[in-house]
Symmetry: C2
Amino acid sequence: MAICFLSPVKTINLSPFPSITTTRHHPNPNHLRCNFSLTTVTTTEPEPVFTSVRSFAPATVANLGPGFDFLGCAVDGLGDFVSVAVDSSVIPGEISISGISGPEASSKLSADPLWNCAGIAAIATMKMLGVRSVGLSLNLEKGLPLGSGLGSSAASAAAAAVAVNEIFGRKLTQKELVLAGLESEAKVSGYHADNIAPAIMGGFVLISSYDPLELMRLEFPREKELFFVLVSPEFEAPTKKMRAALPAEIGMPHHVWNCSQAGALVASVLNGDAAALGKALSSDKIVEPKRAPLIPGMEAVKKAALEAGAFGCTISGAGPTAVAVIDDEGRGVEIGKRMVEAFQKEGNLKAVAMVKSLDRVGARLVTTVPS
Amino acid sequence: MAICFLSPVKTINLSPFPSITTTRHHPNPNHLRCNFSLTTVTTTEPEPVFTSVRSFAPATVANLGPGFDFLGCAVDGLGDFVSVAVDSSVIPGEISISGISGPEASSKLSADPLWNCAGIAAIATMKMLGVRSVGLSLNLEKGLPLGSGLGSSAASAAAAAVAVNEIFGRKLTQKELVLAGLESEAKVSGYHADNIAPAIMGGFVLISSYDPLELMRLEFPREKELFFVLVSPEFEAPTKKMRAALPAEIGMPHHVWNCSQAGALVASVLNGDAAALGKALSSDKIVEPKRAPLIPGMEAVKKAALEAGAFGCTISGAGPTAVAVIDDEGRGVEIGKRMVEAFQKEGNLKAVAMVKSLDRVGARLVTTVPS
């Protein structure tokens, strides 16, 4: 939903929710001691079961029209990689970011773990595990574009949380990893789990409560096809600006309408009805009408997608990526072309299209090196 | 949701939606010619396949907390019966109400088909079938209390629509019968299908659109148990007053919350998770907080239900009935006792409790007499 840009190193409160304070006392500014108040989950300090691990976490589409702020899903074959290694040169209980790669990433992302999505999530995970005797180094490979509305920050955080959990023998549950990832999201875009939860759990995830965190994994039937046409224009849509565009008050008819469409969206997911899913996704009368005009050409792009046969189309996350839904990959490619043309013609924006299926796995271990 | 009280006979427009006009020209004031603009669905006029039929339609619980105005469900073993017979004494194309029975019903309900929920729905169904050559008499047996929030008017309308459809050989679909029943609901409580749709279709029904009407039947898994504890106090909660209590504008946080709970409610139904269903049903932050204070003792009744182990509790329809959810009939009886006590103690209201399971069938034919 948002990204961590380079910022000065300082002691901060990472989130207004679970209170976190940090202490610096190492000559390397990229080292950070875990010293905050997230609950330690394990009773005894775990030992690493691998020397190093590499993990992957997928891109995510949040908001999903009437699913605004509580529903998101993961998309396959697009995401970030994180490698984590036991590193004796890092002070025990601390973490160091050893490298960041990927287009734009090395210049725009901070190598300070306090200001890097992967770093914040890794620290939170170490804290929950109660790691005090081992230092880790972390390498981030960005596969996702920054600030595109595809859950770039969540993918980094999810991959990091999973990597740290795996290197210590997978002691934490997915929900605990979501809580760790939320520390990162809270820092960059607010305490919203609609990217981080599907990035970690895969598939569609509904956040039904934050206090306590309650997540519902919605299973789109495996025998059914579902493709997302993701069209990203060269345009910056800052999350803060997109959030400021939201109405403070909503009339009862629009509230009832969006609630009914949220219900229809959830039912369509569980029933594996891609057409009804697209229709519900496309039906938002509250958020999309306020945000679409801020992305040049978006309304024409949606129209083009629907005319080309898409079941539905809306803004992915806070934008600027447009997401359309279809049940056939080939038709998805055609729809993507029409959407790119519309961005060019009506918004004067260059755009790229991708057709991706649903990721049903979420953040995962990719490779390991045994201890 | 509301009831048809006795009113003077006059020519009226039955609904602001599909425009309906009626013409009277028969000495019997309970006869009515079908002469309105609902689309005739059958291409040739159907002939009756039975001399008479008797149908049943169940009670319904609408609103369901965050499912306000778009979600309802049917409850088993409680409802209205309608008998319809070919009657040569009735002018062809017209209908006559021959009798109304049930506690309070004969004194409070009109025998004028223009002002009776069953009559209006029967007329609408005849119109859709294109019946011009046969007159019918209709007998209504009210099993439901009037104005209790259990879909009394919808049950009468549903039973009548199904009876007329069955006597002419079942030419109409369930959706068409819902449209016929909506003519009646529009007259008495507004163009809302959250009672009439589940009364006709059974189970849980989500109304995702009115123009055109689109209905989603949500299947609660058959192997799972679900019981409704229905507690009706001796108190009148007029639908108009309850609707006037609603807020005109809703803040974004409450909107997002209720949307997420609507999604959770739908997912719980489809997953057969009675506990999550109850929790979501109980979570409304918009409608219930405004309406509950208008029903003496309601807040205490909800508290008593939850303390007694109910998974959730809210107002059924526009009230005054309280509905709690549980997965065990015996525990439902205990919960009902606690709720009745709370109505007495905190609201100074006498109340009766029933424990009912989900009706999965909807309005149905009960008996027939062949032609």
